[in-house]
Symmetry: C2
C-alpha cells in the first residue's frame, strides 16, 4: 500500500517531495525530516541549504585525476612527496577516501566517475578512461617516468568491475606499463566456513608465503 | 571507533557536516548523500534546497489551532462543514496528519507543539496550552457553542503524555466542557498473548458492548 498523506501545507508537501528524492529516504522519513527542519533555528536550516548549494555549485574536479577538489589540482596530485608513478584507478570519490583511510597507499589516483554497466546505460565514453589513457601515454613517452610505473586497477570484484578492469587493460596494455589489480582473498577476520567458493578458490590459488 | 575521514574538499566536508546534523543520518550516510547530490543536475539540487528554505521561512501557523498552514487560518479551521465544537488536542503536526488519514474525525484540532517533559526541559509554558485555554474560555461564554462541546485529549499513552493530559485537564475542567481521551486497549490484529499487562488490564476494565 503506497503511503499517501493529505498535507496541511503546500510548502510542507513540496519540501517532503524534494527530500524523498534522496536515496534511502522514503516519504515517511522525508516528512519527519521536513517537520524536524521546521523546528530548527532559521540560521541552522539556512546553513544546511547553503552548504549543499555551495558544494554543488562550487566544487571543482582535479584536472589530472578527476577527483573532487577545492582547486584546479587536488591535494593528492599537488603533493610532491607522493609517488606519481603509481596510479590507482578507482570508480568513485568514495573509493579514494576509503583507500586514503587505510594509510597504505602513497601513489596517486584516477577517478573513473563510474563503472561500465550496460544495464544502467553507462559505457566507456561516460567514464574518464580517455583521460586515463592520455595520462599513461604521457608517462610512456618519458623513460624516467615509465621506469617502475604501475597502474593499479582497484575496482570492485563484481562482474561490472571485472568488465571495466578488462576494458581498461586492453586500452592501456600496449604502453608497456605494469598493470596490477587488488588482491582478492579471504578478508581479515573472515570465517573459512562462510566464505564463498570463488573467493576461497582464489585465496588458495593466489596463496602467499607465510611471513610471521 | 568514531568514523573519521580526510575530506578531499572543504565544501564536501561542510556539506557532510551539515547533513549529518539531521536526525537519523550519521556521518557515513551524510557523505553518501553529499556525493549523491554532487552527481545530480544543478537544478534538482537547487530545487531541493529552495523548497527547504521556502518551508522554513514561509510556513505559517494557524492562529486558531497552531497547525502549520499556508495562510493565517488552516484549511481545517476554515472548513465550515467541520464540527468546531469538538477540539482534538494533539502533540504535533504529525498527529493531525495521522488522525486526518483515518478519516474518522470531523472536528477541529489544537496542536500543542510538544509534550510536557521535565527531562527535556519542556514545561507547560513552552506549549500552546494558554491558547487552548483561551479557545475553551471563549466557547464557555457562548451557550450555543458550549452545548455539546468536547475536548479530546489525544496524547500518547506514555508517562509524559499522561502528565500533559492531566495538566491540561486541571487547567480546563472548570469551564464545564466535556473532556475525553482516546480509547486504550488491544490494537486491531494484536495477539492477546503478547499484549502488555497494563494494556490488557485496561482493555478488560473498559470492555465494550459486542456489536456484531
Amino acid at each position: 500500500m503506497p503511503y499517501k498523506e493529505t498535507y496541511p501545507s503546500k510548502l510542507l508537501e513540496e519540501a517532503t517531495d524534494a527530500i524523498s528524492t534522496l536515496p534511502g529516504i522514503g516519504r515517511r522519513s522525508a516528512l519527519r525530516l521536513a517537520l524536524h527542519l521546521l523546528k530548527q533555528p532559521q540560521e541552522n536550516v539556512a546553513h544546511l541549504t547553503k552548504s549543499i548549494d555551495n558544494l554543488r555549485n562550487n566544487v571543482q574536479y582535479c584536472s589530472t585525476c578527476m577527483m573532487i577538489s577545492d582547486g584546479p589540482t587536488c591535494s593528492i596530485c599537488s603533493d610532491r612527496s607522493r609517488d606519481h608513478k603509481t596510479i590507482c584507478v578507482v570508480e568513485s570519490v568514495r573509493d579514494v577516501m576509503s583507500i586514503e583511510n587505510t594509510g597504505q597507499f602513497h601513489g596517486v589516483y584516477h577517478v573513473l566517475g563510474g563503472i561500465i554497466s550496460p544495464i544502467n546505460g553507462i559505457g566507456p565514453s561516460d567514464l574518464t578512461i580517455k583521460e586515463l589513457k592520455q595520462r599513461i601515454e604521457a608517462i610512456s613517452k618519458d623513460p624516467q617516468m615509465l621506469n617502475g610505473a604501475e597502474v593499479i586497477l582497484a575496482l570492485s570484484g563484481d562482474v561490472e568491475g571485472e568488465t571495466t578492469s578488462f576494458y581498461i587493460y586492453r586500452q592501456i596494455s600496449s604502453y608497456g606499463i605494469r598493470i596490477s589489480t587488488l588482491a582478492r582473498g579471504l578478508g581479515f577476520g573472515d570465517d573459512l566456513e562462510y566464505a564463498d567458493e570463488l573467493t576461497l578458490g582464489r585465496s588458495i590459488t593466489n596463496r602467499q608465503l607465510f611471513q610471521p
